[in-house]
């Protein structure tokens, strides 16, 4: 319906035609669609989240069977907020509550991967099926990688030994729904302010790729016959974290142009799950060895998923 309206506006009312008109049509349609969905989804996730304060998640996880712990830790990663500046207190807080290292890592992998911006953008750009696949396989990577790291006896690689909590536990006042709604709305607008420009730029570039780059070129570079595409996409994704908002719209265009889905998924997961800024922060509290193991295990997991996908769909 919205698509029809934009088409009518560009081609009939304004009477434009040609490649530039196509690009403009795509741009208007895409940006409005993306921003509408971003606002709705981020708002909903933030509102749900306010009922799961991280301190309560921690207390809950501390009482669970290991395997259940890994699964729940990964699931909690979806609903709890995560920015790289809170990575350290989170990580130490989990260990402080005697939650095993492996379960802590399951959370640490899942939380940035399943952040609200990535989920909202995926939904807006690719629809619910791809979003569900992304979340499902993301959880799988977080659970399996957490179990593997947990089995390696790396507790000594943590450089700071948090003391058991000696203050009385903080329990936030339960807020009325009205206040939660207001806070969620502020948070949504705050996030949009941070990312809107990236999205607009990405959609603009995407529009040009859409109109000018030949499909054969992308298929050759990142289609299902390019065996090196998955590891390359994973490696490229690591330094791009801060720009998930700017990269995801480009991936959409590349997928439309013939980039294989597995490669695209590896790319997205690498962008969100692993980031250099986060590595710099975590370096303060864990040994280089543990940091390498963490990045290594997660990268391998992401690549396996990429290959698996390309193989199933290929």
């Amino acid at each position: 319906m919205w698509k029809n309206f934009v088409d009518t506006l560009i081609y009939h009312w304004l009477g434009l035609s040609g490649k530039l008109a196509d690009a403009l049509d795509f741009f208007i349609y895409d940006t409005v669609k993306i921003f509408t969905l971003l606002v709705v989804i981020i708002f909903v996730i933030t509102l749900i989240r306010s009922y799961f304060p991280i301190e309560r998640v921690r207390d809950y996880l501390a009482t669970k069977h290991p395997l259940v712990g890994h699964i729940l830790a990964a699931l909690f990663g979806i609903i709890t907020p995560f920015c790289s500046c809170s990575a350290i207190p989170l990580f130490l807080g989990f260990l402080q509550a005697r939650i095993p290292l492996g379960i802590t890592f399951s959370y640490l992998i899942s939380a940035p991967m399943n952040n609200e911006i990535a989920i909202a953008l995926l939904f807006a750009l690719f629809g619910w099926k791809i979003t569900a696949l992304y979340i499902g396989f993301g959880l799988l990577v977080a659970i399996v990688a957490g179990i593997i790291i947990g089995k390696m006896d790396l507790e000594d690689e943590i450089l700071i030994k948090p003391k058991p909590i000696n203050a009385e536990a903080f329990e936030a006042e339960p807020l009325p729904l009205k206040d939660r709604t207001i806070e969620a709305w502020y948070h949504t607008m705050d996030l949009l302010k941070k990312i809107w420009l990236y999205v607009v730029i990405a959609v603009t570039i995407g529009g040009f790729i859409h109109g000018y780059v030949p499909t054969d070129f992308i298929v050759q570079l990142a289609g299902k016959d390019a065996w090196y595409a998955v590891p390359l996409a994973t490696l490229l994704g690591v330094p791009m974290y801060s720009n998930a908002a700017g990269v995801l719209p480009l991936i959409e265009v590349l997928v439309n142009k013939g980039m294989s889905l597995g490669t695209a998924l590896s790319f997205m997961m690498a962008i969100t799950a692993l980031s250099l800024p986060e590595a710099m922060i975590l370096k303060k509290i864990m040994s280089t060895k543990l940091l390498f193991i963490f990045f290594g295990v997660v990268s391998i997991g992401i690549m396996v998923i990429g290959y698996l996908f390309n193989w199933i769909l290929g």
Partner: protein
């Protein structure tokens, strides 16, 4: 009254410190304001999301950038 802001130095923590100073000035009360960036010390409060506002050794807010008005209410 002692007010502590716990944070590892991200933008939100700095903004919270500014708002605390404004709120104290508006209330016209006398308070000692401390900024704590040492992670070991922060962890002693059993919190997991920064910035944290502590008034007289009691944690009153975690992971939120409070507005000046909200801080004034917390100051009582």
């Amino acid at each position: 009254m002692t007010i502590k802001i716990l944070g590892t130095g991200c933008a939100k923590c700095k903004a919270l410190e500014e708002n605390v100073k404004k709120a104290v000035a508006k209330k016209g009360i006398f308070a000692q304001i401390e900024k704590i960036e040492d992670i070991q010390e922060i962890m002693n409060y059993g919190v997991m999301s920064t910035p944290v506002l502590v008034i007289d050794e009691k944690v009153v807010s975690t992971g939120k950038l409070l507005t000046v008005d909200q801080i004034e209410k917390l100051l009582g």
